[in-house]
Symmetry: C2
Subunit: 187 residues, 2 copies
């Protein structure tokens, strides 16, 4: 099986700084069908990090975001800057948002957000053995409060839907599954 | 903590049928700061389903999508129609795409795709005890091939990044974690 859709034209129909560009693509399918004005959404690639500290506690936020109702449990997250390595972005965002550093990093890979429309790539990391080295210095606009939870508290919150955003829920589930698979013991 | 951002104006700046609308919002922050032209992306809410059949095999696809390189393992997925119940959409898409029905359904909840920009809500389901009752009748444009995998094959593929799309990876991880937690035994 192969990707046989051909993009024969692209034009930008909307741009809002670095945060959002919309293109319309002309796409030709293998059977000759031509689709005009296929929306392609360009938003910055981003990272998320689940942090576990030296004592096995999960370092998370309770925060508000414009796109969700009420507050939510959240992971560290942020946009990758131009030409920045994704892992470097993850370490930078973790330090800025929490003041923590970690010696052990696991990458779960990168994932297309919208299989049809693009919408950036999500890079997912687990950092373990973390400890606080400085005060956080985040420039985020939203309120956020750092919280330390046990593994079982995180799992309970996950299945109660308390991580209300898809990349956060996906990464937390991957992290717990990874820890189980590797017989890591965090209370 | 509360969601204190106030939306004081909305205007539509792009619309492409039912698949994409972009609004610019004027947003007022708690400290009085006003952000003009905050991009808000409206795309259809969608469902994804991980299916396990009567013999404990995972019913998945290997498929191509415009937004990914090469092919990917994939779950059933599709847009929720106007006024359609999300679970009804999940059952409809499963039947159309695979020809399977299932007696047992677990909802993991609904998740905002982009905490800042919107981009729809993802509804995540696990269906177990499924069996084939008819031939698939999908109207999808892409090539897709149905594959049956064991639990361990799914976990291996997950951590190798073979589910290349965020909602698929997130749902598969949630499903495996749920099965482990509930001591379900699927080879």
């Amino acid at each position: 099986m192969s990707q046989d859709w051909k993009t024969t034209n692209k034009r930008t129909v909307l741009q809002n700084g670095k945060f959002l560009t919309v293109e319309y693509h002309t796409v030709e399918l293998p059977d000759g069908t031509v689709i005009e004005d296929w929306s392609w959404v360009i938003t910055p690639d981003f990272i998320n990090v689940v942090i576990i500290d030296e004592d096995g506690r999960f370092v998370l936020f309770r925060q508000t975001k414009y796109g969700i109702e009420g507050d939510s449990l959240a992971t560290v997250g942020g946009y990758i800057e131009d030409n920045e390595d994704p892992l470097a972005a993850a370490k930078r965002e973790m330090l800025e948002e929490t003041g923590y550093e970690a010696p052990n990093w696991i990458s779960f890979g990168s994932f297309r957000v919208d299989a049809n429309r693009g919408a950036g790539m999500a890079y997912a990391y687990l950092a373990t053995g973390a400890k606080k080295v400085t005060e956080p210095d985040a420039d985020d606009l939203e309120e956020q409060e750092l919280v330390l939870l046990s593994r079982s508290e995180v799992e309970t919150a996950l299945f109660k839907g308390e991580f209300k955003v898809l990349p956060w829920t996906g990464l937390v589930a991957l992290s717990l599954l990874h820890l189980d698979k590797n017989n890591a013991r965090y209370s």
